[in-house]
């Protein structure tokens, strides 16, 4: 299985483990992740108004560069922006026309690239049952909560990642690597996001609520796919703390390819 791969800025620096463990795990699973040459910023946030065209262009360039294949993302934010832009290209004629005019000199884009999150690759292409067979170091007995956050789930009709109100993909992943998934009420709520810059108290409020909810349900640790959730869950927790890891770190551990 060969896929184009869009790592994104944070995976080159603050979230290196998300990237490194993904690459090692992919190799162990027989998946080739080919990093897009010269990729640019995904745009960081998806603009929720119809007249923001230029801020979605770098996402279109990534789609264009993947040449109609499947483009794998790891970071929730990159995934959100790229998948929604791919959707807009096909669903919104106004956006498509204007973006195509901007991109005319770089060659066209035919709308064929499909954006998939690495978790979707594990579920839909590898299969969690197959993944389970490749686990050499099952994480038996560990009670792990999934922190989904917002960006991989909503809006559900565009992201089409999982049921936005009752997702199971990360819990199924946790089962596949031999651990025990623990569901808790705030797993698909906001971490506080970029508002941490404006109002740290707000981020602390969101995180404390989520962590209380996770601890009440019996989680000993959390996993996430999002560097922004990771930051808030770790740095803005005031009441309680739980260890938080990227999902790829546990995947690499279970597959026996994690260093250190």
């Amino acid at each position: 299985m060969i896929y184009s791969y869009y790592p994104g800025c944070t995976l080159k620096d603050r979230a290196k483990q998300l990237d490194i463990c993904a690459r090692k795990s992919a190799e162990a699973l027989g998946i080739t992740l080919q990093e897009l040459p010269n990729w640019q910023c995904c745009g960081a946030v998806y603009p929720q108004v119809t007249d923001e065209i230029a801020s979605r262009l770098s996402a279109v360039r990534a789609l264009q560069s993947a040449e109609g294949g499947k483009l794998v993302t790891m970071c929730s934010a990159c995934h959100h922006v790229l998948k929604r832009t791919a959707y807009d290209w096909n669903a919104d004629e106004n956006f498509r026309t204007k973006a195509a005019n901007y991109l005319a000199e770089d060659g066209g884009y035919d709308g064929a690239t499909e954006v998939v999150h690495f978790l979707e690759v594990l579920r839909d292409e590898v299969g969690f049952d197959e993944l389970k067979k490749k686990v050499v170091n099952p994480l038996t007995g560990r009670k792990i909560g999934a922190f989904y956050g917002c960006m991989v789930l909503r809006p559900g009709k565009v992201l089409a990642f999982d049921d936005p109100e009752n997702p199971t993909i990360i819990e199924d992943f946790i089962k596949a690597i031999g651990a025990t998934p623990v569901k808790y009420p705030y797993r698909n709520e906001c971490c506080g996001a970029y508002v941490a810059l404006e109002d740290k108290g707000s981020a602390e409020h969101q995180v404390d609520r989520a962590l209380n909810s996770a601890m009440d349900a019996g989680c000993d640790e959390l996993i996430t796919a999002c560097p922004l959730c990771m930051y808030n869950l770790v740095e803005n927790a005031t009441a309680h703390k739980l260890p938080v890891k990227y999902f790829t770190e546990l995947l690499a551990e279970a597959l026996g390819v994690k260093e250190g």
């Binding site: 603050r14 960081a44 108004v49 917002c150 909503r154 906001c190 508002v195 560097p227």
Partner: protein, 130 residues
């Protein structure tokens, strides 16, 4: 409605693509908003104020910088009004004006330490400055 208020309302509706008249005032958006307590104008009030043409008041409110863009109200609105899009539209109308950036590069050094992910800084600059 006086001319400027009318123009601002039309702009907010056009760029957000939202029709506030579909709102049945159930309050689910405010019920689900994780930052409800911090906001001066709550999501359901936001929708009502846009319908009444009170855009200028919203543009001056801190509430527009406290929306987390978590899309809980967008996903859960039973009428497809999607209040979060209105918040985004009004905030953009404010910061697109000359010299109205809410935050800028100068705010970063004081905030950013080694734990802050690049994604947060990019997102905040996209949300708070034009």
């Amino acid at each position: 409605m006086e001319n400027n208020a009318k123009f601002l309302t039309e702009t907010a509706l056009r760029i957000s693509g939202v029709n506030p008249r579909k709102c049945m005032k159930c309050g689910k958006c405010s019920g689900t908003c994780p930052n409800y307590d911090a906001m001066e104008y709550h999501p359901h009030q936001f929708v009502a104020m846009v319908e009444k043409g009170q855009i200028e008041k919203l543009m001056q409110s801190k509430s527009i910088y406290l929306c987390l863009s978590c899309m809980a109200c967008v996903e859960r609105c039973p009428r497809g009004v999607e209040p979060g899009k209105l918040v985004e539209a009004v905030r953009l109308m404010q910061i697109r004006q000359q010299d109205k950036n809410h935050k800028g590069a100068r705010d970063i050094p004081e905030f950013a330490d080694e734990s802050v992910p690049q994604q947060l800084l990019m997102a905040a600059m996209r949300k708070y400055r034009k």
